[in-house]
Symmetry: C2
Subunit: 217 residues, 2 copies
């Protein structure tokens, strides 16, 4: 029934994780319509009865898949050493940007975002809330920690970390994410070939907007 209660405390059992892993594989391969209860049971060598016992219904399976995947993603925290040079911070931002692009262009991320978006409609979007709450918030937290550390160190100037984050995100991603979700081929977008150059340009532009030597405020 309410898997969420379990989620916070005890993760999924080993067997359940295997099933969810199989579900993710199906999702990546064939999209949402590929997740049928019978198909998942067959792919995971489990019974439909167990599926319904563990996850309640098909919707519960999909939610659990998102929660499970989110639980796997650990955003590496920024090493908050005391003496960090401007170059160190710049490298941190580049690392952050590359991580972000790699995650967002990953097949699992794409598939899960497509799933959540496909389910979203006029009234409520539990899967979308899950993705935003588990995924984006973690990303934003990491970025904001980095931003504020750089500001404390005197390398950046901004009033609102939220606005600075939005700017950084926009410069890094642009409309690449939506284009990938719409099915445009990665090569057409320029990934992963030009990823490094794109990130470098974005960070460069970000520094020109918020770098201490430029910002006028």
């Amino acid at each position: 029934m309410n898997y969420q209660n379990k989620m916070n405390e005890a993760e999924f059992t080993e067997r359940q994780s295997q099933v969810l892993e199989a579900g993710l594989a199906l999702l990546v391969a064939g999209g949402e319509k590929a997740i049928t209860t019978a198909g998942l049971a067959r792919a995971a060598n489990c019974s439909k009865e167990s599926l319904y016992k563990w996850f309640g219904d098909r919707e519960g399976v999909l939610s659990a898949m998102i929660a499970y995947q989110a639980s796997k993603v650990r955003v590496p925290a920024v090493a908050a050493s005391a003496n960090r040079s401007a170059e160190d911070f710049r490298a941190d931002f580049e690392t952050f940007g590359n991580d972000l692009l790699s995650v967002l262009s990953g097949s699992t991320s794409i598939a899960l975002n497509r799933l959540a978006i496909g389910q979203a409609n006029a009234d409520g979007a539990p899967l979308g809330d899950l993705l935003i709450g588990r995924g984006r918030s973690a990303i934003r937290a990491r970025a904001k920690a980095l931003l504020e550390a750089a500001r404390r160190a005197g390398h950046l100037r901004f009033d609102d970390p939220e606005v600075a984050f939005e700017t950084l995100y926009g410069l890094l991603i642009g409309d690449m994410h939506v284009r990938m979700l719409l099915g445009e081929k990665l090569a057409t977008i320029g990934l992963p070939k030009n990823q490094g150059a794109k990130v470098t340009r974005a960070v460069d532009q970000f520094y020109r907007l918020y770098g201490a030597e430029f910002a006028t405020l």
Copy 2:
């Protein structure tokens, strides 16, 4: 363009347009699963037989809905007067930004993008291609015309209009689009309340990156 007019006129008959309009209403109200052949026929007071005759199958209906909606959207061209001041161009960019945000946050656009993304999977994404080809390309064309006019007038400096466009787009939209697609409430994102301020900030930042008085290249 002229051929577009012909195409748009000839594309769908009056009756077919009414049906597609009803389909769009259903889609906005209930998402993709709300479009059943029987339901659409009932909502549009037409027969399923006509549906299949006109559009082939359900997938054809969905494609036609995207094509139909795209044919309705007219990107207003920029008035390319000879003597335009820096303020004129800046106002053009603000107008462009506001138009873009208004379109992307519109319920029909959201619903169609969700539809196309939900259908996209590993092999091919015809609906996504349609949306990109019909929607994004038109937006980009308008933006690039504006960018190059401003560059010719000496107000902007950039090498690659494509990169400049991506930057402008990223600054304007950030991750708002994906968040809306995931079902986040508009008010949470700050629309339409803060739209004007967001656009102004984005254009301001864009000018700081590409404005002739700033750009160092």
